[in-house]
Symmetry: C2
Subunit: 111 residues, 2 copies
């Protein structure tokens, strides 16, 4: 089973989180996952090229925004809501609601 790097909660850095979310597709992925659910890259990306989605998900994961869980041959992505909330209280809720209000949704991840 492939192991993915995830930063420890105390190593999550604000500039890296902001960079990870500074792209319409990645912001859309985060909004899509803000219900606390898990999605595969295919479910998140729709028609986006697999290599492009892999790149976006890697940036989100390495910044500490996403967690990836392997199960058999599939990988499930979820937001690290509790870790982000403990690191930056109130910020991620505010960011995701601003993003949703501006119209960034999972549809952006499928453009």
């Amino acid at each position: 089973m492939r192991r993915y790097f995830h930063p420890d909660p105390e190593d999550i850095c604000l500039p890296e989180v902001l960079f990870a979310l500074s792209d319409a597709t990645r912001l859309g992925i985060a909004v899509d996952l803000s219900d606390g659910g898990e999605r595969t890259a295919g479910e998140l990306g729709g028609d986006i090229a697999k290599s492009t989605m892999t790149h976006h998900l890697k940036i989100l994961r390495e910044a500490g925004v996403l967690r990836v869980r392997s199960e058999g041959t599939r990988c499930y992505n979820s937001l690290r809501l509790a870790d982000l909330e403990s690191r930056f209280p109130g910020l991620v809720d505010q960011l995701l609601s601003s993003a949703a209000r501006c119209g960034y949704t999972s549809a952006d991840a499928r453009r």
Copy 2:
């Protein structure tokens, strides 16, 4: 007098604002200006090379985070707090207080 481009409030985009703030120096500049004051590049940057500060201030200005005002031969930078608040209610306060809590201050702009 040199004219600087500033996006209209309705053209300020969330991903661009997040990108502008995804750097420790630029985050420190924004925290430094969050008192509503105006600063010259020299006051903000300290020992940072002038060309580097010009680059950082341009990214912040073009994203709609900063406003630049010319007066004689000097340029004064201030945060567009009201425009950002009307565009993304609650977000910028939350972002700047998270940044200040994580220790990003004007000192980061002088590293």
